[in-house]
């Protein structure tokens, strides 16, 4: 195009002084050529400046020169900022979105449900059977049917591999996750997945996904894997009865243990008090015998000097003490003829306790 215009320019230069009409035409052509030149210069400028591009914060870019990535290793990846490449078709810029975290969810293992139902928490009543075309589930090691699903969070570690080696890398990750669920469930019993080994199950799923994506060289790093499992809705009742039964058993055991505590504590306290009483008895007994012995030693001298008098004195003294305690004293003199008197006693069943005597 451009060299053609230059030609015209030359052709009209020579007959400059012909007439006013052709001069006006020449001038018009001249000025339009100037415009064309400017436009062309702009186009050339635009052509080369089209090589500038920016890379956003959430992405990386790779320049393909004749289809081959420019640079070696990690230097292939261009970070956020302004960059320049040769214009198409020499260079081609491929931008790779790298969000902080990618999320995929499993597509097998869960019964048919829509996102709306999921949100509202409403549950459509389950039929008697599970249709393999729409309802997902997994088979456990003990050949039970179980629903389970997982959400995987990962980030892209090797964008070159992730983008250039896989047509749909996230689908590949998803298939690995699905396979991990089916595989892991096949090695666990239903009660372990639901109850006893929930965490081991989750870790096993994550391990399997990690192994698979490593084998497949997807260039991603697994950050987190959440797994949710539940018994089939058809068996919801009977499974919750098992839970109840388990709770009842635990409660019975807790009760039994608290009974155990109580009984053994009581027995311990009782034992301590029995021993305490015995200790006190021993101390008292020994003390009183010792006291008696020393009293005996004291009395022995008096007794030996005059046994009869001592006995008399002792008896009288004792009787004096005793009589202050005796409630009723009945004096019954001897009959003159020396014969024994007949005495009739009417005994109360329970003699009334004298008030002052009750509080000595």
């Amino acid at each position: 195009m451009s060299d053609e215009h230059e030609h015209h320019d030359h052709a009209h230069d020579a007959p400059e002084t012909q007439d006013a009409g052709s001069q006006a035409l020449a001038e018009a052509l001249h000025s339009s050529f100037a415009i064309v030149k400017i436009v062309m210069a702009l186009m050339v400028l635009a052509f080369f400046s089209s090589g500038f591009f920016t890379v956003g914060p959430q992405e990386k870019a790779v320049i393909l020169r004749f289809g081959k990535p420019v640079g070696e290793g990690q230097q292939v990846l261009l970070n956020a900022g302004l960059h320049w490449s040769l214009p198409y078709p020499i260079d081609e810029v491929v931008k790779i979105p790298i969000t902080e975290q990618q999320i995929v969810s499993s597509t097998v293992g869960w019964y048919f449900t829509t996102p709306e139902q999921e949100l509202s928490g409403e549950e459509i009543p389950a039929g008697a059977t599970l249709n393999p075309a729409i309802d997902g589930y997994v088979l456990t090691a003990d050949r039970n049917i179980l629903h389970t699903r997982a959400t995987l969070r990962y980030h892209i570690d090797d964008p070159i591999s992730y983008v250039f080696n896989f047509a749909a890398a996230s689908n590949t990750v998803q298939n690995a996750l699905n396979n991990a669920l089916v595989f892991t469930a096949a090695g666990f019993n239903v009660d372990d997945i639901l109850l006893n080994k929930q965490n081991e199950f989750r870790e096993a799923v994550q391990q399997r996904v990690t192994d698979l994506v490593e084998q497949e060289q997807l260039g991603i790093v697994i950050e987190q894997c959440d797994v949710e499992s539940r018994p089939p809705r058809q068996l919801q009742n009977v499974f919750s009865q098992v839970t109840d039964a388990r709770e009842n058993r635990n409660k019975a055991l807790i009760d039994a243990h608290s009974y155990e505590n109580q009984v053994t504590n009581n027995a311990g306290a009782q034992a301590v008090s029995i021993i305490d009483v015995a200790e006190a008895d021993r101390t008292n007994y020994v003390a009183s015998i010792t006291a008696e012995a020393s009293a005996f030693t004291n009395l022995l001298a008096k007794y030996e000097s005059n046994p009869n008098l001592f006995a008399q004195q002792m008896l009288v003294q004792t009787m004096g003490q005793v009589l202050t305690n005796v409630q009723d004293k009945i004096y019954l003199p001897q009959r003159a003829d020396g014969k024994p008197r007949e005495l009739r006693l009417m005994l109360n069943r329970e003699p009334p306790e004298p008030k002052p005597a009750a509080t000595p």
Binding site: G67, A186, G187, F188, A256, I289, A293, L343
Partner: protein, 300 residues
Amino acid sequence: MKKNLLTIVIGAVLIIIFALLLFVFQVRQSEVAVVTTFGKPVRNITEPGAYFKWPWPIQNVYKFDKRVQNFEDKFSQTLTADNNNLIVTIYTGWEISDAKEFYPKFLGSVPAAQRALESMMRNAKNAVIASHNLSDFVNSDPQQLKFDAIEGEIKAEVQSELSTNNYGISLDFLGFKKIELPESVTATVFQRMTAERTGIINSLQYAGEAEATKIKSAADRQASGVINNAIADATRIRGEGEAAAAQVLPVFQQNPDLANYLLRIDALKQSLNQRSTLIFDERTPPFDLFQNLPANSPGH
């Protein structure tokens, strides 16, 4: 002159560009390509870059995506060696590794290639599953679980089929996506699961009661043991007291009469302690004082 030179340069550049467009083609990082001469595949290109070719209509270039593509077969029923029906879906990752072979076989059509792949997958799947029992698919014993091995066998089967036919396709990975049961079987499984659950409920109940009773009776036994020990200890302690007291006894041996007398005095004190009624006559000391009163002896 200057202007002419510029014109020539620009013209040459344009011609070169035009020639390059005719004679050169690019293969991107994610592509493979095959060059055909009058329709016959002659050159295989597996590395990215720029390549020369004769212009159309002498040579043509067909480029294919060489990235790993996901593909899964439709679920189908398969019989295991022990006559269990399974519904199995497998997924694969495959790629076009050899465009020169791939292009003439499928005329470059990926769906056609996938159809061929699917039938190979189904055959391999059926053959391998038929040689395994259900216990190879689901098993709590890791030694007996042959999940990985089965996947490997199917993959090997498909791979050997692919290389025999020389499809220009390679298989990167293959795995189970679903292992399920026919719909009617799920009802049977539910019945069995219900029975199992009921069994668990019963055993939980009985086991719980039995264990609670065991704990309680053990506690009772332990408690009575503790108390019996305490009683035994108490007896021993009292015995020790008596032994200690026995050492004092020789003191009383010095005069057994006095000891005896004192004991009786003590007994008297004890017996007439409280709430007692004493009936006495004038011979009972100290009331024997009454005996000697002259007014009180009318008989004399």
